[in-house]
Symmetry: C2
Subunit: 126 residues, 2 copies
DNA sequence: ACTTCTATCCTACAAGTGTAGTCTGTAATC
DNA sequence: GATTACAGACTACACTTGTAGGATAGAAGT
């Protein structure tokens, strides 16, 4: 059971993202997927998997000869949590400040701008 | 000298934000400012200040009887760094994915939407 | 001058993190 | 059947972080 005060660490996020893409997966599959991004020892990845199980972010199916792991938390919720704490830290919780600063600072292509405008419009009319 | 691999921790951000607001400040002033947000022991705040000095994020003027502290890193740069690593972790580095998801998920008021649209327009025309 | 306060410096200490290694047992290989 | 190789459990270990406490020294009050 996930504890409320437990967070997914930076390294653990990589494993979670693999499992959110596809699950259930054996540890070998997870190692394979993670290895395309990160040059970690398989042992390291196993450690991360175990920690995530202990923290309650992923579950294990022990029926199979090779255990299969799957996420226990929703990707969207996790992203929202993470985003909120980031915005709290950097922007004192002001979403607006964040978005504004972001649009100002970052290089965004014209197409992207147009798509964002579409999104804003849709939101506005709803 | 700030090391490249050194990060400002969550708690340290609060101190940095105080100093970005106003600097130089004595530690007593920093404690005062931080205390309005956080219920930390002054000792804790002193610890954070020392760590920030050691990490090279803030500097000290020891000429005065009471040391004065001031930021050594730019607020904007720090925010950009922090934002980039957040987006890397959660959105695999895709700014676009992040903004899109964000506009979709979060409750933003109409005025805010309009201001964001203005920002997008300004950006688009530049 | 002696006491008191308190800023600065140094130390503490448990939990979390990145990054693995060891041990044990089962599975596949020769 | 003996050997090897990998899975999973447990252990390791230094560093960071949150959260302070103690010692020391100079300033300030009496």
């Amino acid at each position: 059971m996930k504890k409320a005060d437990c967070k997914i660490s930076d390294a653990e996020w990589i494993v979670m993202k693999v499992l959110w893409e596809e699950a259930p997966l054996t540890s070998a599959k997870i190692v394979e997927a993670v290895s395309s991004n990160k040059n970690w020892s398989p042992k390291t990845i196993h450690s991360l998997i175990s920690r995530l199980v202990k923290k309650g972010f992923i579950g294990v199916n022990k029926e199979k000869p090779l255990y299969e792991y799957y996420p226990l938390v929703d990707k969207r919720d996790s992203i929202l949590d993470e985003t909120r704490s980031f915005i709290q830290k950097v922007y004192d919780g002001s979403i607006h400040l964040m978005l504004a600063n972001f649009i100002k600072e970052e290089k965004i292509s014209e197409e992207e701008i147009e798509e964002l405008e579409r999104l804003l419009n849709k939101k506005n009319n709803k």
